[in-house]
């Protein structure tokens, strides 16, 4: 029998955990976004000293399971004697992971900008930084909404993995409740439902941005020749 009372009784605890999940994920997404832009700029800089470390970093992140990256960072930080709350370590690990993927998206996006848009800006004497912030980035974001949406959702779902370094986020909160109630089915279904709701909220935000954008991309989202 499905025990609704258990779910209702522990819902506030679960929502508390959900808040931490949302917070860690949001922080990681923002950090990874900024980090991804920085890494992509190093990658397209044309300077080997900047390019090679980024390439090595991206290969590492891509080639190693996230849970192992998490352990390396977790034990690495305690090894060098830095005292850091586990939720922050989890957030950093998520951010470092996602930044590598996002940098690759940004790089592809930057390379796909028609050079004429950049030349027009250069001919008007705009600085490199102005061109990056005012021309390149808005054009890149427009192209990258679908892959970035996936990436953001992935960060949110990966945040469940940081429960393993005893961050009491949504999943670990659920597991703690299960050890006292022995109602795994009810609690896991509830946990799943909350992840889904957070994700739907995230997608809603992204769709709002897309709608604003469709004014200039045209309905098809296609680009001018």
């Amino acid at each position: 029998m499905f025990e609704f009372e258990t779910v209702v009784k522990y819902l506030p605890n679960l929502l508390h955990g959900a808040l931490l999940t949302a917070g860690i994920s949001a922080g990681a997404i923002v950090l990874a976004f900024l980090g991804g832009i920085l890494l992509s700029q190093m990658r397209v800089s044309g300077l080997k000293v900047l390019q090679l470390p980024v390439r090595a970093y991206v290969s590492f992140i891509r080639g190693v399971p996230f849970i192992i990256q998490l352990f390396v960072i977790y034990y690495g930080i305690s090894l060098i004697g830095v005292d850091m709350p586990t939720w922050l370590i989890g957030m950093l690990a998520l951010a470092m992971n996602s930044a590598a993927y996002q940098s690759e998206y940004f790089r592809a996006g930057l390379e796909s900008i028609p050079p004429g848009y950049i030349e027009a800006a250069r001919a008007l004497d705009m600085s490199k930084l102005q061109i990056l912030l005012r021309i390149k980035m808005p054009l890149v974001f427009a192209k990258l909404v679908p892959p970035l949406t996936n990436e953001f959702i992935l960060v949110l779902k990966n945040s469940a993995i940081v429960s393993i370094i005893s961050v009491v986020e949504l999943l670990r909160t659920g597991q703690q409740i299960i050890t006292t109630t022995y109602r795994p089915t009810e609690i896991y279904i509830m946990v799943a439902a909350i992840y889904l709701v957070i994700n739907l909220g995230l997608m809603l935000l992204i769709n709002l941005y897309r709608r604003k954008q469709s004014v200039w991309t045209g309905r098809s989202g296609g680009d001018r020749a």
């Binding site: 001919a123 008007l124 102005q130 808005p138 954008q213 200039w216 991309t217 001018r224």
Partner: protein
């Protein structure tokens, strides 16, 4: 004449890899002059124009814009003695318009004045509106480029370049990407500009424009200036067989 110098180019070379596309260009243009550059594709005429605002970095040579050296590098020097100093005095109009798609017409025009010249926003908008009225597109100010025809986009692009108050306007085949019925509006705007005394350098396939608006026509072929002179000299009394052949291949017959 007593006119002041707009552009002074000496010994300009440009290589793309091993290919020499400009083979020692010497060119002198006075302020107020309207110069048309014609020639077959691959003759280096666009490259020459793009060197004048350093969209292309020359391989060697000297470029002066008015009283300032824009670029100077002698053969064998490891790096240019001078490249890209202070502010550009040129505005450029491209074959593909290159309006930024994520900005409205007005935002396209005020962007550089706001960011580069740090013009006050109100003043920038006022100036932009005046320029848009001048090119006949004020009513499109809040639309995005995708909703404009090619000819309209090109006129906005001209307004965008003019908003920076350039001393010299560079046009790189401004009508080549346009449907024939849209060419006229763009040429009219350019004629008005020439009539106001703007110094203009126009790389073009529009022989009629070169013949009727330009003070001087330059014919380029294989990276060199082959012949230059008044439109009448170039179109009616051409000296070089290469130019005669080029003209006979175009349908232009204005001078019969």
């Amino acid at each position: 004449m007593g006119s002041s110098v707009a552009v002074e180019v000496t010994g300009l070379h440009k290589k793309f890899g091993d290919q020499l596309v400009l083979k020692g260009i010497d060119l002198h243009i006075d302020m107020g002059e309207v110069v048309g550059i014609i020639g077959p594709s691959g003759s280096g005429k666009s490259t020459l124009l793009r060197c004048l605002n350093l969209l292309e970095t020359p391989t060697e040579g000297v470029i002066r814009i008015q009283d300032e050296v824009l670029y100077a590098r002698q053969a064998g020097e490891a790096r240019p003695a001078k490249s890209a100093p202070g502010k550009l005095k040129t505005g450029m109009v491209f074959q593909q318009f290159n309006l930024w798609p994520h900005m409205t017409v007005l935002e396209n025009v005020i962007e550089a004045p706001l960011r580069v010249k740090k013009t006050d926003k109100k003043a920038a908008i006022q100036k932009a509106e005046a320029l848009l009225a001048k090119v006949g597109l004020l009513e499109k100010r809040d639309m995005h480029p995708i909703y404009l025809s090619g000819g309209q986009q090109q006129r906005v692009a001209i307004a965008r370049a003019l908003a920076m108050e350039p001393e010299i306007m560079l046009f790189d085949e401004p009508t080549s990407a346009l449907d024939p019925e849209l060419v006229g509006d763009v040429l009219r705007v350019m004629k008005d500009l020439a009539g106001e005394g703007m110094t203009m350098i126009v790389v073009t396939h529009e022989m009629e424009f070169a013949a009727n608006v330009a003070d001087r026509v330059i014919f380029m072929d294989q990276g060199a200036i082959v012949e230059q002179g008044t439109p009448e000299t170039i179109f009616r009394h051409s000296q070089s067989p290469r130019l005669q052949q080029f003209l006979s291949n175009t349908s232009f017959t204005a001078f019969g």
